[in-house]
Symmetry: C2
């Protein structure tokens, strides 16, 4: 059965590259990377903002800005639950990002051996 994803031979447009760069940038700050890890460990349920805040030592407004950034790069989803907002990791976006990095390193060029990434006890 054929894969549903981008073929390895597909050329990336400039906009796509720019999009991936923005996603990397979103992950490229310690608080935000931490937020993503927190949300991932709560996956697929996600967490409400207050509970994320409890693990992070930032003010509510700062956290909100970070969540907003992650949201605008599509790395997270939001969903209202009464007065709460529940954020969760967007696995589709993460899959794409991971697939991109994997392709760059392992497929398009054989720079990194797949084994070293995937396997290992």
């Amino acid at each position: 059965m054929p894969g549903t994803k981008q073929a390895a031979s597909t050329k990336l447009t400039q906009e796509e590259i720019s999009l991936y760069a923005d996603m990397f940038a979103a992950l490229g700050s310690e608080p935000r990377l931490r937020i993503m890890r927190i949300l991932l460990s709560a996956h697929p349920d996600g967490m409400v903002v207050g509970d994320v805040a409890a693990e992070l030592d930032v003010t509510a407004s700062t956290l909100s800005h970070h969540l907003d950034k992650l949201k605008s790069e599509q790395l997270v989803h939001v969903q209202r639950e009464g007065t709460f907002l529940r954020y969760s990791a967007n696995t589709v976006a993460l899959e794409r990002l991971l697939g991109f990095l994997y392709a760059e390193c392992c497929t398009r060029n054989k720079a990194v051996e797949p084994k070293k990434v995937v396997c290992c006890k």
Copy 2:
């Protein structure tokens, strides 16, 4: 034989997280992501700065700053060759970064299916 890499159960220290965040940040700008792609496609030989510049439409000094950033996050190596400087992708660092992201998404939490990243025509 035991793997040489971090076991899946290893807990990441705060400094490690911060380190990965910095690496993501280094990839999180369009010119730099493009530079990495260029260097990867020239892997393992790498390229001298002038040849990188030829594909990028940025001034020499801007390029130099970007390369410096990539270098300080260990994503590239430099090596002098006469008057030229040859930059190349640091596969060890990329492997670690890719391994981290893979672990976060696929191993530590089963958020993303390995198949979707690795395989696929």
